[in-house]
């Protein structure tokens, strides 16, 4: 077995009892799933529970005789569907609790203030690169978290999991044009939120994007 083995082959191998196959699957997908959960759930602690739960589902499914994942299906689609649905379930169960923090409570509120402050005083932030980076990161976090759920999930699946639009459409159960349109809304919203950051960061990042 080499490193190029497909997800499906690895999953099938794990189902056959090869723990190492699962380790490779985990290495391949843990980070994207984590970043998706982390941004989609807006809660690092919840995201950690969810991360375990997602992969435990995979483990469990591999032991079942009537497995949910079949050899013919794309593993990543299945995996990200689990991740998304667990996220949504959790959000629904905790809706009352979440409702209280919709517009940011505790640190989120502070962040929000900071964001606003940063927006106003962005040029000051640039004076100190470290501070600027930290602040910028917080602002980006916030901007993503502020996206509506359906835009956020599409944005994250595209940027973090790097799923093609067609696959995202399958996962979220929407048409491909709808997915593209949500993606575009999400990007435009982010651009609006991070416009001032963009003036600074863009110079480097945009170049790399263009060249790439």
């Amino acid at each position: 077995m080499d490193g190029d083995e497909s997800d499906e082959a690895l999953m099938t191998a794990y189902r056959a009892g090869e723990v190492r196959a699962f380790e490779r699957l985990l290495a391949r997908h843990e980070k994207p799933v984590w970043n998706f959960l982390r941004r989609f759930s807006r809660d690092a602690e919840a995201a950690e529970d969810l991360l375990q739960e997602v992969f435990l589902r995979v483990v469990k499914d591999a032991q079942e005789s009537k497995a949910a994942w079949k050899g013919g299906a794309k593993f990543s689609t299945w995996l990200y569907t689990i991740a998304r649905n667990l996220c949504i379930d959790r959000a629904r169960r905790a809706v009352h609790r979440e409702a209280a923090s919709l517009d940011g409570s505790g640190p989120a509120g502070t962040e929000s203030t900071e964001t606003l402050h940063d927006r106003i005083a962005s040029t000051d932030a640039l004076a100190d690169a470290v501070v600027a980076d930290r602040q910028a990161a917080r602002r980006i976090d916030r901007a993503i978290a502020d996206l509506p759920d359906e835009q956020r999930e599409v944005f994250l699946m595209r940027e973090v999991m790097e799923l093609p639009f067609a696959e995202i459409a399958t996962v979220v159960g929407a048409s491909e044009p709808t997915v593209k349109s949500r993606m575009r809304y999400a990007l435009e919203k982010l651009r609006g939120a991070l416009a001032d950051l963009g003036a600074v960061v863009i110079s480097g990042a945009a170049e790399s994007t263009r060249s790439g």
Binding site: T12, V19, K31, K70
Partner: protein, 478 residues
């Protein structure tokens, strides 16, 4: 075709993520050209989105917490470990190895026996119809209509010359005596004999008309060779063979209106010169086969079938070891015994036909070679014993062979290529082929150290073959 700003805007996401259809890319890129009057607004739009992507991605590369990673790995290993013993246990002791052993020991001999019995039953159904046999028996005994008279005179002339030369020949080559003595016996009814068989001669369980005619040919060839026998010898032979219980029983059987099965012996036995030759060839072969090992086992049952149509003696002889022992017990060396056998085969008919005929035709005396009816069952018994012996021999032979084969299969060099292939098919997701490959590996080498893994992969590949729904969990309402 030039693209408008709306066209480009509609394709902005595909453009941004590299999913533009090949056909449209050139036109859209032309619209965005920096020089040559490209659309600056669209270009700025694209650049803005790109920079936003770049900014956002800076925070989307977090490493997952190690605690979660470890917990997942532990769970994954535990799940597999908890499941592992079941298939291993199930597969190892009761699996294919048991089957192999069973198959090696029983299947072949059993099939051979069943086949032989089936052929015998079928043949007896076809050839041993009571009415016809009875009729034929009577025809043979009473003044024969057409066939019977011809053979008797024809052969009668031959032995007449024999007496003078025969004794020396026999003395000089005792072992050859058997075949020579057999000749007269065969000669008498050779023609009638062959026809009787072709018509469905009674004793012809496995001896189909083919064999009958083959025997006749051989008998004819025989006639050309020096073949003779003294009256004294014939007498001796008759006495000898009158004694064995089987012979006596035969006599009794023929004293009464012949029962359906026993009516035939005379004709059958008559062909027996040819049969003796055949037997000799076969027995040589079977002995060779025995020397070779398991091959003999496969061959014997067939012999047994042919034998069942031949006189008891030749059957016994055909079976080498045991057969020869029996022969040796009664008549010493096989070569000496066989004349007796042949002599035995004919008498029933002769006795039934009446003494006058026997005396008038000296041939008739040696001719008595028909297998005593009682000896047929005996032969059958011997056959069975031989078969059983050969079964055992075969089982003993094959078991080690199979075992040693497994040993050799175990060696990595043999199994390597198929294993690699199976793994490759598996990793390529060609489940059907991979499953077949693993199945093949398991069949060939069920005790391989890697067999557990193959089994798992086989199961997994088979499971993967089932067509699937693309998504697992039902998406909850949004």
């Amino acid at each position: 075709m030039a693209k408008s700003c709306e066209d480009v805007s509609a394709r902005m996401m595909e453009l941004l993520y590299g999913e533009l259809p090949e056909g449209e890319r050139a036109a859209i890129e032309a619209h965005l050209e920096t020089d040559a009057g490209g659309c600056a607004r669209c270009r700025a739009e694209l650049a803005g989105l790109r920079s936003t992507r770049a900014i956002a991605r800076q925070v989307l590369d977090e490493t997952p917490p190690a605690s979660a990673h470890q917990a997942i790995l532990r769970a994954a290993a535990a799940a597999v470990a908890g499941r592992q013993p079941a298939p291993e246990k199930r597969a190892e002791p009761a699996g294919p190895s048991f089957w192999d052993r069973l198959r090696a020991r029983w299947t072949l001999p059993t099939l051979a026996t069943v086949g032989a019995v089936a052929v015998f039953l079928l043949a007896s159904k076809i050839f041993l119809e009571p009415e016809k046999t009875y009729e034929r028996g009577r025809q043979g005994l009473v003044p024969p209509p057409v066939e019977a008279p011809a053979p008797a005179p024809a052969t009668a002339g031959e032995p007449a010359t024999a007496p003078a030369t025969a004794p020396e020949a026999e003395r000089s080559a005792p072992s050859a005596a058997a075949s020579r003595v057999a000749v007269p016996a065969a000669d008498v009814p050779a023609d009638g004999k062959a026809t009787a068989r072709a018509h469905g001669g009674p004793g012809a369980a496995g001896g189909l008309s083919e064999i009958g005619s083959g025997a006749a040919q051989l008998a004819n060839k025989r006639r050309a060779a020096p073949e003779r026998r003294t009256k004294e010898e014939n007498e001796v032979a008759r006495e000898e063979y009158a004694e064995p219980p089987t012979a006596r029983r035969a006599d009794r059987a023929f004293a009464q209106p012949p029962p359906p099965r026993s009516a035939a012996p005379a004709p059958v036995a008559a062909a027996d010169d040819g049969d003796v030759l055949l037997d000799r060839q076969l027995s040589t072969r079977s002995r060779q086969n025995e020397g070779r090992g398991s091959g003999g086992g496969a061959y014997d049952p067939r012999l047994a079938e042919k034998k069942s149509s031949a006189p008891a003696k030749s059957t016994a002889k055909g079976f080498g070891g045991l057969g020869n022992d029996l022969v040796g017990g009664t008549g010493g060396p096989a070569g000496q015994a066989s004349p007796g056998t042949l002599a035995k085969a004919a008498p029933p008919r002769e006795r039934n036909a009446g003494a006058s005929r026997a005396e008038s035709a000296p041939v008739a005396a040696p001719a008595p070679a028909a297998p005593p009816p009682a000896s047929a069952p005996m032969a059958a018994k011997r056959d069975h014993r031989d078969e059983a012996a050969s079964e055992e021999a075969m089982a003993d032979e094959e078991a080690p062979v199979a075992r040693s084969k497994k040993e050799s299969d175990k060696s990595a060099r043999k199994a390597e290529t198929p294993v690699a292939r199976a793994d490759r098919l598996f990793s390529e997701g060609r489940w059907a082929e991979a499953a077949a490959a693993y199945r093949d590996l398991l069949r060939r080498d069920p005790r391989n150290a890697d067999a557990g893994r193959w089994r798992q992969r086989l199961a997994a590949a088979e499971a993967a073959l089932v067509p699937s729904a693309p998504t697992a969990a039902p998406p909850p309402p949004h």
